[in-house]
């Protein structure tokens, strides 16, 4: 008897739904990273993976190990919280870096110019 069979059927189905949602969203995010045309559009793709992509998988993991060990297992929630707080920092710095580099080369998108220079 594997550990998966020890789960109550309804819990197993809920975990399956969460994990499926999370991994499909992560895949769509990575697909967007490849398909989208310019850098600023691509900056949005990883947020799919880090918001509900990670959230779904981590919630599934919390439910699975909490049910198996019959006690609340919370480290995953910490990991999810960490992702929620750290991803914006990286993406923000990346966005600023990209704009900075584009400006330095004189090919920044027109609508990014400060009002005074328009």
């Amino acid at each position: 008897m594997t550990h998966l069979e020890q789960l109550p059927p309804s819990v197993a189905l809920i975990i399956a739904a969460f994990v499926a949602l999370g991994s499909i969203l992560t895949l769509i995010g990575a697909l967007g990273l490849i398909r989208l045309g310019n850098f600023y559009d691509r900056l949005h793709a990883p947020t799919l993976a880090t918001s509900w992509g990670a959230g779904g998988i981590l919630l599934g993991s919390v439910m699975m190990f909490s049910t198996l060990g019959s006690r609340l297992v919370v480290p995953e929630l910490f990991l999810g919280l960490m992702m929620l707080v750290t991803t914006p920092v990286t993406l923000m710095v990346l966005g600023r870096a990209a704009l900075h580099r584009d400006r330095a080369e004189g090919r920044a998108p027109y609508d990014t110019l400060p009002l005074s220079k328009k």
């Binding site: 995010g29 697909l31 949005h44 799919l48 991803t87 920092v89 966005g95 998108p109 609508d111």
Partner: protein, 161 residues
Amino acid sequence: MSMIPHPVVSILVTILWMVLTGFSTGQLVLGVLVGLIAGVGYGRLATDRVRLRRPGMMLRLAGRVALDIIQSNYNVAALILHDRRRHRRKSGFVRIPLDLTNRNALATLAIIVTSTPGTAWIDLDPDDNHLLLHVFDLKDEDDWAHTIKTRYEPLLMEIFR
């Protein structure tokens, strides 16, 4: 300076330590030690104290953000999958004048905006406090300015007053 410069940070780090390593007396002692050191370290890094008011407002903000993240996850995923067929999607930058000046409130707004798929915080102009936002599916510029100004900014102003 007292022995415990930032009690909230120290307690949070101690709880985190206990959650990650397990609950025992030895780990509690170690956790408290790490928490105290973290408090001192935080005091060196942070310039101004964070004053949080209105826990009810914070809960409302968290709920609102969670709903928005779910909805925009769906929108962005659908847009990525249909990108080739529909070329009408136009992305672009929006400039939004902000009334928020508290640094911690601005940091929170940055986290909210960036972790919502479909909007990315690019820059904050320090001269006139204008936020430069990149929007994935730009239908109406004023609509986005309206969203930020009415949905998040008043709550943040109340919380970080």
